[in-house]
Symmetry: C2
């Protein structure tokens, strides 16, 4: 039950840094106006971030006759953050500066037959080292200055349940992990601070800092892919639940006794709006459709998106059907959580989102509360690039700011 | 986005007062041990509550050789709180001391043909005055000391959507209110501080202070009655959502295209586990059942509960069916919110809860996440008496402590 001033101070520190990151150069007074914090609090927090070398003074602006105001920016070239998106078939690694601008990236396939924890940890570590080497090569860093000495933290998103103790459980085809101590394994490989979480929470933090969640308190981020789930940011920060498992929305029953779901239950949201469920809609409506590709759900969803954009009749009907299921499920979330905004993220949303968006909004409007003030905005993820690796790196930045908090 | 030290301080003040209320007499050191707050913080907060006259020093305990420790208790006879539960057919009013022990109560039918806002406000105000008069009579208060001068606040729960501005919208048979300024109307009648909310949130606050939510951070309280809904306490305090509308869980789709719901949609949770939905299960299974009473859903649910307790075959099947629907819906909540505990409250839970509980737990266990650490406890509301009027009075106490915070 312990609530602490430290939590608030940390949340305020995140707010201040977000404001500076969002601007080329910003004064303390502008931060006060944007965050609602007092000038004294902002000055203290800015002082800490200056001492850490994360911020620097970059000049002055006039203040309408008064004393010129100092302008702040994030220090470039001081520390880097690594964001890792581990999926079932690949590992995507990006290196960012403290403004979370990407400096380097790599993507490597994950050996599909080698999903032992040690083997996966070695593959992740190799990809991280490859990005560090690439950056060192670019910068012409002398060999005695290890690039890893610059790393403030490595955020790693893995597609499963991540315990607060850094263990991971994943149930997937070819992948069955129970309470694997992945944080420890990666730490042994990399000797860097590791911050482990899953794509639901990584995407949510990315939206809070850089996307549709900026400046909002109550935000739902839906990850739509092969699996589906929700990330919740409530009261301005990530909500994790009692055991860091909140957001398993994909296994909410939408059609009692409906389609079998890979979780063993029936009629789950995921069985209708996850990529395999989308393929199934198409197959049921048009079993001989040329849109059904042999390469798997990704190719079929791609083909479906292109066909829907071109006005194809079957594709349009499939999209309408998916929008109905997704809309009803989103209406339930809006009723329960009453968020300001619902963000559709994940690769299925990236491909099909613009085709789905208006219809989903219509279904939600008909089925969520009738009072206009309760309506939530529904938007597509506005983040260019991979929001999961960005969010993982942001979790590492939050983690770094937290450890600093212990010292300050 | 403004988070403030005041929010934390207020939450801590609530925690300290909860600890004192829970004990006959408690030392500051015991409060430290229970809340995880520092001794300095506890001492400051206790000092404020002593200054307000809400707490008093009641003696000393030994401390194993050290200086004797002062013991604290809630002051009796200093201020009262009123809790009002307005339902579609009655208004129930209780008066409490600051320990939230009931001192007096009254219940009056609400005129079913007079649901104009002014008329309802007058009936609520009359019931509140009746309890105050009753208490004044008991205590033999001299007429010049108005009992209402003792009232710290009046908490009123109404069965609808309550806006942050104190307006109420209710859609019910014979009752159609849109943005009625009830807080203002009641204030004009009573000239007392009015704290308005709905039964979902009143019940949740009651559980947090006095029930199954004590000492828990993430709690879901389900109100099962004619309508159904959820109250969420996340991170140790009530979660309200963007527009104070969180918790409208009754209109989550559980059976796509299923039974019509009174909200205009189909297949909502409420259509299956609300009292009219329960009667419908019975009617579908046994159209000529003698358990179907002409007096309405309350009498039928009563008869069903008695028959199920007696092992009646039809009643047992109906209860199993309801448990299946309720269990699937609760599993969805557990997946999404990952709470420590789910509390079944409301009059349907009071009557049928013990018959339903084991079956609901079984369904949730089969359909919520597979990892044991994620499991939530599922319990019946342990509060004796009416949790809604208790919770409404508690909201008034929280409100009083908040206004005090503005002054301190």
């Amino acid at each position: 039950m312990k609530r602490s001033l430290r939590d608030i101070r940390l949340a305020n520190r995140f707010d201040v840094l977000r404001q500076v990151i969002a601007s080329r150069a910003v004064s303390r007074q502008q931060i006060v106006a944007e965050t609602g914090l007092s000038l004294a609090t902002v000055s203290t927090l800015v002082g800490e971030l200056l001492d850490l070398g994360l911020l620097e003074e970059v000049g002055y602006e006039g203040s309408g006759g008064g004393r010129p105001r100092g302008l702040l920016a994030v220090t470039s070239g001081r520390g880097v953050l690594i964001g890792v998106d581990v999926a079932e078939s690949y590992v995507h690694v990006e290196m960012f500066n403290p403004k979370l601008a990407a400096l380097a990236r790599t993507e490597a396939p994950l050996d599909p037959d080698g999903n032992s924890p040690d083997h996966v940890a070695r593959q992740i570590a190799a990809a991280v080292r490859s990005v560090l080497d690439q950056a060192a090569g670019d910068a012409g860093t002398p060999p005695q200055e290890s690039p890893s000495a610059q790393v403030l933290g490595v955020g790693v998103s893995v597609p499963g349940q991540v315990g607060r103790d850094g263990t991971v459980s994943i149930s997937a085809p070819n992948w069955d992990w129970q309470d694997v101590p992945l944080r420890r394994l990666l730490g042994q490989q990399l000797h860097l601070p590791i911050y482990l979480d899953n794509p639901l929470r990584a995407s949510t933090v990315a939206e809070l800092w850089f996307g549709a969640g900026r400046g909002r308190r109550d935000v739902v981020v839906l990850t739509l892919g092969t699996g589906v789930g929700a990330g919740l940011a409530l009261g301005g920060s990530l909500y994790r639940g009692a055991t860091n498992s909140a957001g398993e929305w994909g296994h909410t029953t939408l059609v009692l006794d409906g389609r079998p779901c890979r979780c063993g239950s029936r009629g789950c949201v995921e069985a209708y709006v996850g990529a395999p469920g989308i393929v199934q809609h198409l197959r049921e409506l048009a079993p001989d459709s040329p849109l059904l590709r042999s390469g798997g759900a990704t190719e079929t969803v791609d083909a479906l998106a292109r066909a829907a954009a071109g006005g194809d009749r079957v594709a349009t009907r499939v999209v309408a059907e998916i929008a109905r299921y997704l809309g009803m499920a989103v209406a339930g979330l809006v009723n329960l959580v009453n968020p300001q905004v619902v963000v559709l993220s994940g690769w299925v949303a990236a491909k099909l989102g613009s085709a789905l968006l208006d219809a989903v909004r219509g279904v939600v409007e008909r089925h969520a509360p009738r009072r206009p003030c309760v309506r939530a905005e529904i938007v597509l993820c506005p983040i260019a690039g991979n929001p999961v690796s960005l969010g993982a790196a942001t979790l590492a930045l939050e983690g770094f700011l937290t450890t600093i908090g212990r010292r300050l």
